[in-house]
């Protein structure tokens, strides 16, 4: 943790509004991108970010400097997003589906031609359960048993939902490539 982060954390622990704003300014962008990944629209993402920062400020005393601040902030945001999805009942029925990974994605797979916003949009187009599990496994790096525990589902369901997400994404990527002919499309979302 850098010196500035230490100062920020200390200020936030003292409920100093300037420090709170600085923390928001420094990490708000990255955390908002996470919120966008887990939700279906910007309004929901804004709600999640707002709730997450309130939690961050209220629980900053529990943060210990032995772990990176950003890691802690990201975990708060992810948990807030999952709570939000639970409230929206998007995680209510996650069934085990019979989809087998065909291995196509591992063949010289690259996302180099896609912009970040395009990729975000692709993730947001996934079915809610697939979207969440893909985020947790592929981006956040959780294992399937951890995801199963977090979401209250079986490990098999997590794996099958992830396979489905991966297959759908692969199809979408192929489609995008076909339509765009390799060019970068600036997609507004």
């Amino acid at each position: 943790m850098t010196f500035n982060e230490q100062e920020l954390v200390r200020g936030c622990k003292q409920r100093n509004r300037i420090a709170q704003k600085q923390l928001y300014d420094v990490f708000g962008g990255k955390l908002f991108a996470i919120c966008l990944r887990y939700t279906k629209n910007r309004a929901d993402a804004e709600d999640v970010l707002q709730d997450a920062f309130i939690k961050i400020y209220e629980n900053i005393d529990s943060f210990r400097a032995d772990s990176p601040l950003e890691y802690w902030l990201r975990s708060v945001v992810v948990n807030t997003a999952l709570n939000h999805l639970r409230q929206q009942k998007h995680l209510k029925e996650l069934d085990d589906i019979d989809i087998h990974h065909n291995g196509i994605a591992d063949k010289e797979f690259t996302l180099g031609n896609f912009q970040m916003q395009q990729l975000l949009e692709l993730i947001r187009e996934l079915p809610p359960g697939c979207q969440t599990i893909f985020n947790l496994y592929a981006i956040e790096g959780y294992q399937h048993n951890e995801i199963a525990e977090k979401l209250g589902i079986s490990e098999g369901t997590s794996k099958s939902q992830y396979s489905r997400a991966r297959m759908l994404l692969q199809q979408k990527l192929n489609k995008e490539k076909r339509f765009d002919d390799g060019s970068v499309r600036n997609k507004q979302f």
């Binding site: 704003k21 908002f32 804004e46 690259t110």
Partner: protein, 485 residues
Amino acid sequence: MMDPSGINNFEDQWRKALNEASEPPPPSVWQGIEARLEEDSERGLVLPLWWQSRKLWYAAASIAALLIVGAGVWFSGSDVNDQKINTIAANERGLRLKNDKQTSDAEKSSAVSPQKEERLAEGKVLENVGLVPKNTDEVATKGQTNPFKNSKEGVSIFEGGKNSFNKIDNDPDNLPSSVIRGEATRLQQIESMEQTITATLLASRPYSELDVHVQKRYVFFKPEVESENPTKLTGHKEYWAGLGLMPASFNPDLKVKEAPIGFANQTVSDKKSVSGSSEAGASYAVQTQGGMRISKHWSVELGVSYLKGNSDYQGGGYLLNANNSKSANVLENALAGLAPSSSPIATDKNYNFANTGSIYVDVSKKVSNNYQFLQLPVQAGFTINPDKKLSYSVLGGMMANFFLSNDLESASGEIITTTASDEIYRSMNWAATTGLRFNYKLSAKWKASLTGSYQKAISSGFKSNQSLDTHPYLYGVSWGVRYSF
């Protein structure tokens, strides 16, 4: 073929692409956070952390230091006063005072004891702060004219006016009677002065704020926060202006409640004249509106619209004047009854048929009855999915309809125009309005909308409702665009 390096691994690629992704959130998010933090702090969630503030510790230490110093000054001051009182009392009880020669300034300085120095200092302080009454100078002056020396106790009287001391001998035999009298007077004055000083000091204790609780000092921290980050609760505020065209079905719901004067003369016409009814006609409204979004879902909007309300009236028959062949349908005759006698409508369509020379013709002829209104709607809206591409708003409110004109086709085909100045129709009539709107986001600023509206007047459109009654209502579908600021 699998990528042996793992660089092109599916998850790694995604993680690499999105792990550092950043998207600036809109300003409304921070405004919302700040508003919620303010609510929390108002509920006192921050108070338990007062001990974490270094500033508060400084403030507490400063107050404590002031208290200690102040208490020292206060107690030392009261000691000196007590000593003075004791000294004077002892002198009064019989210390032998004697006259002595006035010593030089040097001797005075050398004769000053530590106690005298304290009293000297106190005398100066008292004078400086204005606590010493004016008669102190008198006391000092009197003492100066009768210099004393208290050689045994080593007590001297401070001559405040000139920074000099007069020594007093304890031998009363050597003291002239005038000196003793002067001393007695002086003792009284000093005693009264001591009381004044004591009372004054008690009354003006600078540390009367001792009961200021440390938590009170927390208050000075708060304005700092407010001044640097003024709270804004206007996270979703947005303004827009819109334009629309509404094809509509307008029905004035006009009813002849009782036979007009020309129709009342005959039994048939009396009955038939109230049997007519209005039919809605193709109408339209041109609408402009301005709105404000006051929260995520709620909005208010105002507007100005022009409504051309066309309709037909059928039934009631008409009268034909046998003498001059003029005719008047039931509406014309009824309107003439409502119009002031000076109105041309009244003279043409009322008095000519009020005699028995008119014939009632029971022909159900459809006559057009067209209105023009200026409308000022005020509506509240609740929007579902406000930030999505397609959103839905439920609207409700009131509308002021300002009557502009009415064109009524006469039985003979002529048009009779009634305006607000004819004082037949109410110049302003309230209507309730409700609607459902579909908004489609064309871009960040532009939206297209489709609004289904229903309007219904809540009072009669006529000033006098003796024989005629109208409660216009309207169904319309408005097509519009709006621009957000």
